[in-house]
Point group: D2
Chain length 164, copies 4
């Protein structure tokens, strides 16, 4: 069984055609797993639906608490990309033993159709969570990064290792 | 560096609006990696563009030859799903040492937009090829299978382990 | 009120991922009108779901019968493009008085996402049926054609006037 | 020949994945006509690329000037929906003789894939501009409205007649 925690982020944003701004409705994760014809046992739980720029200490506590209590040792978390590294660091600080935690996100909302990277990122993160050693990782751009060796390049939107 | 070999399959099929049938044009792999915002070094080579139902011994020889000669130890192969298990078995029979070979495909052409599983499968296969031990694998439905323990269920279109 | 008769055609075809061939399930018309945010009173009725190559005299009788009995004077018909001209001629031969009948179709199935012309064609046909004088027309390629002055160019897939 | 004037609006907006906001790049109109397999002679000219909330007197002057100088009598204008009625009124005030002017827009950007109404609206507007009497019209929701009898319902996003 793989535990999936939804926290929001660009991944799950939608376009509000009245206001012209982005907002959250339900997560797209279940329909994405279906479209991906995924046959793994996946348990999806929406912890929150927020922009990661608005994620605060108490939100990260909720995520950490759920990761600790989770009976499964493979955890995939969808998250806004702006602050995903901070959440990865927070989770690593909790020393959650024996669990592989992979955080991923998207640069373009899944709801925006054939331009979004979200579906690809979900496929990657799902594979990494099954194969990586216990620890906390960020998965983006087809790669995985250790929580203590990753930064989002704010200009390009790509994730990079610190020492490269 | 990750070597990607394109062999065709549903993954890369397109709709011919004159004849109403499916056909191959160029592979979509480069644009898929771009859309996935992939920052890995990926070398894409189209070995053939065929339906796996038409794949013959000599075609598999070409694939095996390229896998053997390939200077990189991570190889991702796109392939028609109907005969992907046969090709995996063929490659395993060649005892290609020290290389991780992951074959993947799609049930619905990538060109058919937001219904296709191809983009998700590519993300998964790309992650598996980076993390699995040397050997030959098939990646579908969010999972990976060892070449000698997988079968495509022709009725459902899902891949299953032999002994489950 | 605008009457919409669905007869099938490429417009409504879908991809069967088990057999790899195209087939019909339910029509996409209702969801297309919703996505187009259409506020016209539209009555949608599926008369048949067939490829126009398989359309026979008795099928055209059903279409003609429904057009004659229809209480509304604006009728939009979705149809396979290969034989849409033949059906237009058949309907014109019935001298249905005082009704504007517009037939349209698609070269690429609506279900194939952002490559299909179907959504555009529906928008055009819907506008033409509201504004053209009584008579029988074919609407394709952003244009309308009188039933007795149109032919499908089988090589290019475009509709053309006979005398141009 | 049909003259198409692009002025921006939601129709042509795109998602900026760095800032998370919407912006304008090039218009999608040419690729939309191609995808619609349109065979009409269409002349596309981008007058401006702005949100209609930012459209000012001088912008409307540019649009009116171009409509007056245009050698063709069928003019289609893409426009933001929030202020499209105001621009229609402005153009009607100029008494441009003998020309059919149809303004249209979209509630969801064309770039957002299979959720956008833009492609349908373009098909409708293109048909209306070919068939309506000279005058100024707004085309949305599958319908056309006279410039002096239309209002956008800000709550629902639908266009309505004033006296209904």
């Amino acid at each position: 069984m793989i535990q999936v925690y939804v926290t929001g982020g660009t991944f799950d944003k939608e376009y509000n055609y009245i206001s012209g701004s982005l907002f959250f409705r339900d997560t797209h994760l279940p329909s994405m797993f279906e479209r991906g014809r995924c046959t793994l046992d996946v348990n999806i739980k929406t912890l929150m639906m927020i922009d990661s720029m608005e994620m605060m200490e108490e939100d990260r506590e909720i995520i950490a608490y759920n990761c600790q209590r989770c009976p499964y040792d493979k955890i995939l978390i969808t998250h806004g990309t702006d602050k995903v590294v901070e959440t990865a660091q927070f989770l690593a600080g909790r020393n959650i033993e024996g669990k592989t935690i992979v955080l991923t996100g998207a640069m373009i909302p899944y709801a925006f159709g054939t331009s979004s990277d979200g579906f690809f990122n979900l496929g990657s993160a799902l594979a990494f969570v099954q194969t990586l050693q216990p620890g906390v990782y960020v998965s983006m751009n087809g790669r995985y990064f250790h929580w203590d060796n990753v930064v989002k390049n704010k200009k390009t939107g790509f994730f990079e290792e610190l020492n490269n």
